[in-house]
Amino acid sequence: MGLLGVLLSVWGNPENSGICISCFMENSAGALGLHGNARLQYLRPELPGFVLGAVLSAFAAGEFRPRGGNAPVLRLFSGLFLIVGCAIFVGCPIKMLLRLCAGDLTALIAAAGLVSGVWIGLQLLARGVDLGPQQETNSVNGFLIPLLFVLLFIFVIIPPPFVIASTEGSSSRHAPVFISLASGLFIGAIAQRSRFCITGSLRDIILMGKRAPQLAGFAAFAVSAIIVSIATGGMRVSLYGQPGAHLEHFWSFLGMLLVGWISVMIGGCPFRQLVKAGEGDADAGMAVAGMFLGGALVQSWGIAATAAGVPNSGKVAALAGIAFALLVSLFFRNRSTN
């Protein structure tokens, strides 16, 4: 994944954004006409690739299991606030790693925020915060989100006239469609088999320390991304002048803290939600729907940060996200376990 994350940028995706779920969500929401930022409209083929790769892998391994729990609206809002947190930092946890591996030191403070968020989420889980158990559910529930992505896959191959593609800006920059699709399918499949999740890995490392097998996974990701970054000339170690990065470190920290916290509550980072939706998880499907909505709102309402910094509405949205996570922690807490 580290290798493909860098190579997709070399093949045409924006710098340090070979894989970025929040950027892809914002781009795709724009392409479907859900926001009006003409520079951020492109149906990223990697997105249907991730989900359909996971679907195929889950079927092949006999792991496609339609399931769901409770609190669907809460999961929708969780997905929305995941994208808000990512938009404040300008990138999802995978992009944060890619930025770090390309020498972007502004991502260090965001990494600290993500670890803090995962730690807070873990502490709250240990004290009884729980969204409820999952049950086997009607198979239609598990198929709806994969079907939506089949439709997006068709839109990628045969673009209908209502799908918009930017001719300027970062969305006009993309790897060739079939390379993006193939990479997405491959990454989706291996992520389904390996249960790859940035926040899940951090959670296990916090819980198990050096014994966590995810440490080796992180190392493999980082080493491959660093080697390819150096080999392709993308490595530039600095705090300043980094692609798509701003210098409002407190808000980067808070944005990623929000992402880490919510990810632990709902059982996975934005990428893992896509993969789980491909395994028939209707709860993850609701989070994915929320992520699409979030992708549209952060652009329409001027929430997303840019290299110029974090707009005031972005700061308000980040704080609203923290308030949301606090409310969930208060009202979804099983106090009898303590």
Partner: protein, 173 residues
């Protein structure tokens, strides 16, 4: 799944509806022009807006461009200020001002003006935009960064340079 007649009827209707949906999706529509106008309208609108904007900019700033070509930068700057009073939020005015100030040896003010313009319209640092001023902005940023100890410059000035440097580096917006 086909327990009784109702199940069987629902399946038959479902298959018919799915077949009709697929047929309608892939068959050429008889009234395609009106349909394309409706569904592809936004993309066309955006294209028209881009083209119109270029024409408006050419017409609006023609007197300034003429003065620049004659080498009368001071007069061009005065004319630009006059036009800017009518269109205070036009990013092109900031970019033109940045070019003029850069040519007149005021790099700090030029960087500030370029940064304002790029914040309003990112196309000025795109490689493929017809409005691109990437080369001029790059030159200014490189010249400023090559000065000894650029970090000792006033904070607002260095912030503008770093912002432009980040935008020139690319990435997501």
């Amino acid at each position: 799944m086909t327990h009784d007649n109702l199940d069987r009827s629902l399946w038959i209707v479902l298959i018919a509806v799915v077949a009709a949906t697929l047929a309608l999706s892939f068959l050429p529509a008889s009234n395609q022009s009106a349909e394309t106008q409706m569904t592809g309208g936004r993309a066309n609108d955006q294209k028209l807006l881009r083209e119109a904007r270029i024409l408006i900019i050419q017409r609006r700033y023609e007197p300034v461009e003429t003065l620049i070509k004659l080498g009368q930068n001071q007069q061009a700057l005065l004319k630009l200020e006059e036009i800017s009073r009518s269109y205070p939020a036009d990013p092109h005015a900031y970019i033109l001002r940045g070019e003029l100030l850069s040519a007149m040896g005021a790099p700090a003010e030029a960087a500030s003006s370029f940064a304002q313009g790029v914040k309003l319209e990112g196309g000025y640092v795109d490689k493929n935009s017809p409005l691109s001023k990437r080369a001029a902005i790059s030159r200014l940023v490189e010249a400023e960064l090559s000065k000894p100890n650029p970090g000792s410059s006033p904070q607002s000035r260095i912030n503008d340079i770093r912002y432009l440097q980040s935008r020139l580096a690319g990435g997501c917006e």
